[in-house]
């Protein structure tokens, strides 16, 4: 622990711990508040976007085993896919659910991927995964974070963008090649 109070910017820090909780700590490391759900990541909403209500955060509101969803695999061959958001949403200081979204996404899960943003108009921008088929592996699917959703909390409709593939997708090619090699080595079984 190091703290130069004269030079450091003073405020609190919000983090999601690997035990599935979200914590607010102060500059001295004291835990000020704990929510019983994690985030990927968790973020506190600016009260200017919540009508002045303080302490609202965005989190994962329910999880799904992404590795088991449609047979999708993680980037490491043979690895069980991680848990991902079935739904994400906003909760208040007490942990009460304010809003959530995800089952309306293609495939029935938002499969959020590391980023989201509350927009000034009240909508929420979410980066999500798409379950995609690996070329060269007939029955292997993987998670590809190419979906961008803008979701309005009061309307059913949404903006949905699928980022086009870059001219070169070394990551996908590398992962496919690695998975193919692992299959030949017998470490994973295609179903």
């Amino acid at each position: 622990m190091r703290y130069d109070s004269a030079r450091a910017h003073n405020g609190d820090v919000l983090l999601s711990s690997p035990n599935g909780k979200t914590c607010l700590i102060d500059r001295n490391g004291n835990v000020l508040h704990v929510w019983s759900c994690g985030g990927f990541p968790a973020r506190m909403l600016n009260p200017a976007s919540t009508g002045g209500v303080k302490g609202e955060i965005g989190v994962q509101t329910s999880l799904v085993a992404a590795g088991g969803r449609a047979g999708a695999i993680g980037p490491v061959p043979g690895e069980k896919g991680p848990l991902a958001d079935l739904t994400c949403g906003h909760v208040n200081w007490q942990g009460g659910m304010l809003w959530r979204w995800g089952t309306q996404a293609p495939g029935g899960a938002v499969l959020g991927h590391q980023d989201w943003q509350r927009l000034p108009n009240g909508d929420t921008l979410i980066l999500g995964n798409r379950v995609t088929r690996l070329q060269g592996l007939d029955k292997r699917l993987m998670l590809d974070p190419v979906m961008i959703y803008e979701v309005c909390p009061t309307r059913v409709d949404r903006l949905e963008l699928q980022v086009p593939a870059a001219p070169e997708r070394p990551g996908v090619q590398r992962r496919a090649a690695a998975a193919d090699g692992a299959r030949r080595a017998g470490r994973i079984t295609c179903t």
Binding site: P18, N19, L45, Q114, D115
Partner: protein
């Protein structure tokens, strides 16, 4: 792609550059022809080389870059030539109102705040341990952290 952000009002949009319209979004991942934001924050990890636009020869370690979106010049970076922190996947960086930068060395759960001159003025090691990404066990990892102003808390 692991980051997407609506630009909002910014310097370049105010100067009339329509590429930086506040409604436009910036995302990670390189594709020729895509404009970068007004000031691009790159929190590079040790998994792969730093952004090629910065031409920084990162071999091992991680760094945080502030890049001018138009000139593509690196205007600030931490650390210097010596790599002093490393996170193979998770991590984040946030510029604070005082000009300091809050950095999350995600895989180790080490959070620190760096003054513009590069001096660490706050550091905290997370004690929250749990199963890590990619099956790693019992590490205090944190995907991204957020500096929260006192006025946002009840």
């Amino acid at each position: 792609m692991n980051a997407v952000h609506a630009l909002g009002p910014n310097h370049w949009a105010a100067c009339g550059d329509r590429r930086f319209a506040p409604d436009n979004m910036v995302r990670t991942g390189s594709r020729k022809g895509c404009p970068a934001p007004a000031t691009c924050w790159c929190s590079t990890t040790g998994e792969r080389p730093a952004t090629s636009r910065a031409d920084l020869p990162v071999v091992c370690g991680a760094c945080v870059l502030e890049i001018n979106a138009v000139t593509r010049a690196v205007v600030w970076q931490y650390p210097g030539p010596k790599r002093t922190f490393f996170s193979p996947r998770p991590g984040s960086a946030q510029r604070l109102p005082t000009g300091n930068t809050l950095i999350d060395e995600g895989i180790r759960g080490r959070f620190f705040q760096v003054a513009p001159a590069g001096k660490i003025v706050w550091e905290y090691r997370s004690a929250f341990v749990g199963k890590g990404p990619r099956g790693l066990q019992a590490i205090p990892w944190a995907c991204r952290i957020q500096a929260v102003p006192y006025g946002w808390v009840p």
